[in-house]
Symmetry: D2
Subunit: 178 residues, 4 copies
């Protein structure tokens, strides 16, 4: 059966977006790549630093409020609709709520053929990459490295600690039904 959605879940700076772009490059069909960053950028500036929206605390914690949750739920439904309308979609997300976050996606994606991929990365290595990127609040990588995987069920897990994005993508690609 043809895979319709690939969900990449992992902490900040674990390498999700690089893997996503590599998947786009090596998979034979065209795939859309949509990230939680795309959603955050689509929100009003005022929600990007507020209790009601999403807050990036100086210690790296990310707190989401009620208005963020509402828009996020609609965003999830919209991505499911894109897949039902025939687009192949790679979703790159951070399951801040672990298993609960996955359930939200499972509900929205019901009936679609989904490949669930965990993107692991050692916390210290992800923290180093966070510093190398230079555009992220310090501490997010460490906060999220493990908590985002709690209770989440995967078809496949890749670990970017010692494996390049392209190689992770090649592993995932072997599991994508065409």
């Amino acid at each position: 059966m043809a895979t319709q959605v690939i969900v990449l879940n992992g902490g900040s700076s674990s390498g999700k977006s690089g893997i996503s772009r590599c998947l786009q490059a090596i998979l034979p069909d065209p795939w859309l790549a949509l990230s939680v960053d795309t959603l955050v950028e689509a929100m009003p500036a005022s929600l990007r630093a507020s209790d009601a929206g999403i807050e990036f605390a100086p210690d790296g914690q990310v707190i989401v409020g009620p208005e963020f949750r509402t828009l996020d739920a609609a965003w999830t439904e919209g991505i499911a609709a894109m897949a039902r309308a025939g687009a192949r979609v790679i979703v790159d997300d951070v399951f801040l709520g672990g298993a609960v976050s996955q359930q939200r996606w499972q509900k929205a994606l019901a009936g679609l053929d989904v490949l669930w991929v965990g993107v692991m990365c050692d916390s210290a290595v992800a923290t180093g990459r966070e510093i190398a990127r230079g555009d992220r609040v310090r501490g997010m990588a460490a906060w999220q490295a493990e908590v985002v995987h709690e209770g989440v069920a995967y078809d496949l897990v890749v670990d970017s600690t010692h494996t390049e994005s392209l190689v992770c993508a090649q592993t995932i690609a072997t599991r994508v039904g065409g």
Copy 2:
């Protein structure tokens, strides 16, 4: 009745994204802002310069191919689903096909309360802003300034030639049902 979707249509460098951000800032509820640029960035790099995808010719013409159209159609359905799921959405698009492009959106957004807004800008002024931005292919603004409005029906037209983005947004906001 409460407006669920605001569609801003206008040529490149006509000021759509600035107006969109101002609308997000002044409207009392949170609105998602999604642009055709968001879609283009979500596509595989290979589609961004190919016959099958979208091509930005050196003279400023934009040519879209079959694979772009397929993903674009699914994207449109997805945005409609976001609105049906409760997100207020500002769509910022370039109707390269004029009335035909609008019909595609009308079909997808059926049953939703939509405010159709034309964003006009004098071709010479848009060309000057294209130069000032510095990140666009020269000539797009001129190519698109008029053709994107051909046969399109609007609830409201704003003209950014001599009017600031914020003022255009204020005009639009008075027509948004809450």
Copy 3:
């Protein structure tokens, strides 16, 4: 005599960088465009939000500390050296200290042929453009609109309130010695 350096001074969101890119497009020779934003991006991330470096307060005030000043002074000397080595340079700066900031540049640029340009913009209009840009701390435009011009001497003043960047650039270009 051939102009070697064009200094554009104006508040945040007054249109300096757009004017700078238009100047690059219309002047017959190649000009480098260097902005205070370039300097800020070249600084360590830790200085970008600290007492010792540069701080963007939530109310739009910009406070610069001793380490910022040291690097800024060296940056200024470096740009002067680029011009002495034969590069034509457009500098886009915000004279937070008004006349004192200008003296710093005058000292560094001694012996070079400099065109001093003030970029004015009505505070309310600049504030609107700040909202339309969406990537600046709200309030900077209003804080800076007038204070950056206090006691500063210009060869030429342009006002972007009702005049497009390209037209401002054309006015400046007529005063650039070739």
Copy 4:
């Protein structure tokens, strides 16, 4: 003796800018990070795709013309002047001309205490990272991986093939005189 300039030379996607940001984060003093990308962005848009300026051929080759060379020479002098004026500077460059490119820097930096660092990366790995970045012309990494090191003399070589940016930076930091 106190190091005044750190020159990082390596091919595209070899990890220079990540190492540069990590150095800024771990070195006790503030360092400016300036890259050849900064220079390219400062050039007129017209030079960024022309015979006289810099051209990124579809096969990944980079060709620089006479006007690029002139501005590049002045840029180099300017960075040397910044260091002489007291700024610590990390330069991140691509020695397209190998030893000849180094001589140009050696001449400009005469009298300064410079740490010359080669940033190596296996061509296949750099090519994978180029795909993961998604914003570079494909093929640059492979073209540049070896040629930029030909005949260049280093104080220190790091290899990012199997070593994280932060660890490379830590190795370099031990050699920086304070």
